[in-house]
């Protein structure tokens, strides 16, 4: 594998690519200014339950800087702790309690990202899917707007499907 190879024919594990997507989401989403907490200017990227990324988040995005914020990765046990995160990934192992988890967040400005088929219907904001071996995502703009998150236009253009598009008054 030469160092020059970037987008060659080689395949990469899905979760590794998705971890990197989360890094881009951190760059392309705006959080309300009042949610920048105190002197600690960290951007918390969290998972709930066992780490679905098998360490790939730490390997790829931890300590990267977005704007003036350093990305920190947390693997949470307690659902209540999600409120302190900027991004939460809720994997398919959590599928049974996704409605409960999203209720806890209830419009707090936390970008919720999932992968289960009904994640957006349940009120999640971004869902990963794999089509023809490529990672795609769809966006629930209504859910994001209710939580006062601004999804950048570049993300909206790249999304496979946007729920709530054109509803803005």
């Amino acid at each position: 594998m030469s160092s020059g190879t970037r987008t060659g024919a080689q395949t990469t594990e899905e979760y590794r690519v998705e971890a990197t997507f989360l890094f881009h989401f951190a760059q392309l989403v705006d959080w309300p200014p009042d949610t920048q907490k105190g002197a600690d200017n960290s951007l918390f990227l969290c998972t709930i339950g066992d780490d679905p990324f098998q360490g790939a988040l730490e390997e790829t995005v931890a300590s990267k800087v977005v704007g003036n914020r350093i990305i920190r990765v947390r693997h949470l046990e307690e659902p209540e702790d999600m409120q302190a995160c900027q991004i939460v990934f809720i994997g398919k192992a959590q599928s049974k309690r996704i409605p409960m988890l999203l209720t806890i967040l209830n419009n707090t400005p936390v970008l919720t990202v999932g992968e289960t088929p009904d994640f957006l219907d349940a009120g999640g904001m971004i869902r990963f899917l794999v089509e023809e071996n490529k990672v795609r995502f769809e966006i629930n703009l209504n859910a994001a707007e209710s939580a006062r998150l601004k999804i950048g236009s570049r993300l909206l253009i790249l999304a496979e499907h946007v729920v709530g598009e054109g509803h803005g008054k």
């Binding site: 990469t12 979760y15 997507f21 392309l28 066992d50 071996n133 790249l158």
Partner: protein
């Protein structure tokens, strides 16, 4: 030339397993964060490895270094001793720092406040 203290050897045995485990979960990959999001969308992915795998369930190579191995190895410190384990490379980065890696991953090891 001091003999290897027993406590260090115990640490070495525990950590050699740990290092191999950690090394297994990493392969040398392109830093994907250098790619634009548009390029990420063109990467072919596999989901060969099941998600939500507990770290404790990821198969790890375990190699036990016995008392006899230690005696025969002639090692005078722990990094030296770890060279005995197959698939574990130990590179000396100075008098106090060694880089230890299984496969292609490199890790700092730190015990009780001192790097070695």
């Amino acid at each position: 030339m001091k003999p290897v203290p027993t406590r260090t050897v115990v640490c070495a045995l525990v950590f050699s397993g740990f290092v191999l485990l950690a090394a297994r979960s990493q392969d040398v990959q392109t830093d994907l964060t250098t790619l634009r999001i548009e390029d990420l969308m063109n990467i072919d992915v596999t989901s060969a490895s099941k998600k939500e795998q507990k770290l404790s369930r990821i198969p790890a190579a375990i190699f036990v270094i016995t008392k006899e191995d230690i005696r025969r190895s002639g090692a005078t410190d722990t990094p030296d001793l770890l060279r005995v384990a197959p698939g574990l490379d130990v590179a000396q980065g100075g008098p106090q720092i060694s880089y230890i890696g299984g496969r292609l991953a490199w890790h700092y090891l730190r015990f009780s406040g001192s790097y070695w």
